[in-house]
Amino acid sequence: MNKVVAGADEAIRDINDGAVLMLGGFGLCGIPENCIASLVKKGVKNLTCISNNAGVDDFGIGLMLQNKQVKKMISSYVGENAEFERQLLSGELEVELIPQGTLATRCMAAGYGMPAIYTPAGAGTEVAIGKETRNFNGKDYLLEYAFDADFAIVKAWKGDTDGNLVFKETARNFNPLMAMAGKITIAEVEELVPAGELDPNLIHTPGIYVHRIFQGVNYEKRIEQRTIRKKL
């Protein structure tokens, strides 16, 4: 079941104006750098992007914002991005802020074939407005629906030609959840190997969820907050 495509341009070939995308990553950690670059080059517009963050001004999803390609962002935290804030305050950009665990679980629900989940996050706050609330064992929970995304674009550490994926450290974050949740899932990996080379015991995302895979190039892996301690 060979899922390999030549590169990012081919992987995103049928992402068109108005598409709903999931993009993996937490901050700039574990983001699909190659596919973002190709989406910027292609110039598709009116995108809805589901991603925990919106990048920084000059990297990650921030590049798509600069290029005015995003109609709506669905995220949990969008600091560290001046252009984002400008577009939000001027009304150019629609933004839905949702709790981070809710974001993760709405991806998970989609990948597990469940239409919705109940979570206590946001009960009693403005996040609950317009949502069905149900009390279980004395505690309020909100009904939150599974996401419905046209494409999930994820970044993994290693992958094989069958689409099996392995993630590295905290670059895992939302990637395996989104990989399960897209109608079409595109995976870019740092190292692509023939099927059979990865240990089946250690696969994070089985290839059944992945439709296209390629080995990415020129990863920058920018660090947002470089923090160090002194050697004594």
Partner: protein, 220 residues
């Protein structure tokens, strides 16, 4: 003297118990990791997918794939584990994390907390805070007692949009340690040299004072 941010963190660290799994928020809560008492073993959870967070790396050893929820480069300790964001909030929701420490803009006498939005001014988002406060068994808030204008941040009811309802158990401010009780903020300890009267004047919510209130002590 009001406590420094480091002293607030140092005081909160005394609440840690051996074997705790702990989630530390961004800002003052992060500093708590520097004051874990000797003989107490705790495991730090980072909600972007790590149990067993270690200190910042030495220069030259930073790993872009290894960060905490504040996007800072970090390390792991022996016995650590990585997982995805759904499992991370799953363990939070299921009450596996023993203690959550986070900052706040306002706390109410019922234990409501506001820390994610200032309408018209700040629109950064709630991140994981709403999930944490909705599910954590034990929430300690680290905060300044008043805002820069000198107005109390410990209120009868929060003015800002809420992050969570009736969830905070304890507040450690630069002036005092207080428990949230059905009768309001119960004063437990004073910062060195800070009088009960000063704390009373800077607490807008109901303040319960019973008997002598001891001063906090810090080993130098």
């Amino acid at each position: 003297m009001a406590l420094t941010k480091e002293q607030i963190a140092q005081r909160i660290a005394k609440e840690l118990k051996d074997g705790f799994y702990v989630n530390l928020g961004i800002g003052i809560p992060t500093l708590v990791a520097n004051y874990i008492p000797k003989g107490i073993n705790v495991v730090l959870q980072s909600e972007n997918g790590l149990l067993g967070m270690g200190p910042f790396p030495f220069e030259g050893e930073e790993d872009p794939d290894l960060i905490n929820a504040g996007k800072q480069t970090i390390t792991t300790v022996p016995g650590s584990a990585f997982f995805d964001s759904a499992m991370s909030f799953g363990m939070i929701r299921a009450g596996k994390v023993d203690l959550t420490v986070l900052g706040a803009m306002e706390v109410s006498e019922q234990g409501d907390i506001a820390n994610w939005k200032i309408p018209g001014k700040m629109v950064k988002g709630m991140g994981g805070a709403m999930d944490l406060v909705a599910s954590a068994k034990n929430i300690i808030v680290a905060m300044m007692h008043t805002n820069p204008k000198g107005e109390s941040k410990l209120l009868p009811g929060c003015m800002l949009p809420l992050t969570g309802v009736n969830c905070v158990k304890k507040v450690v401010s630069d002036l005092a340690v207080l428990d949230i009780t059905p009768q309001g903020f119960k004063l437990l300890e004073r910062a060195p040299g800070i009088s009960v009267e000063e704390i009373r004047s800077k607490t807008a919510g109901r303040l319960l004072v019973e008997g002598e209130i001891p001063e906090m002590k810090f080993e130098v």
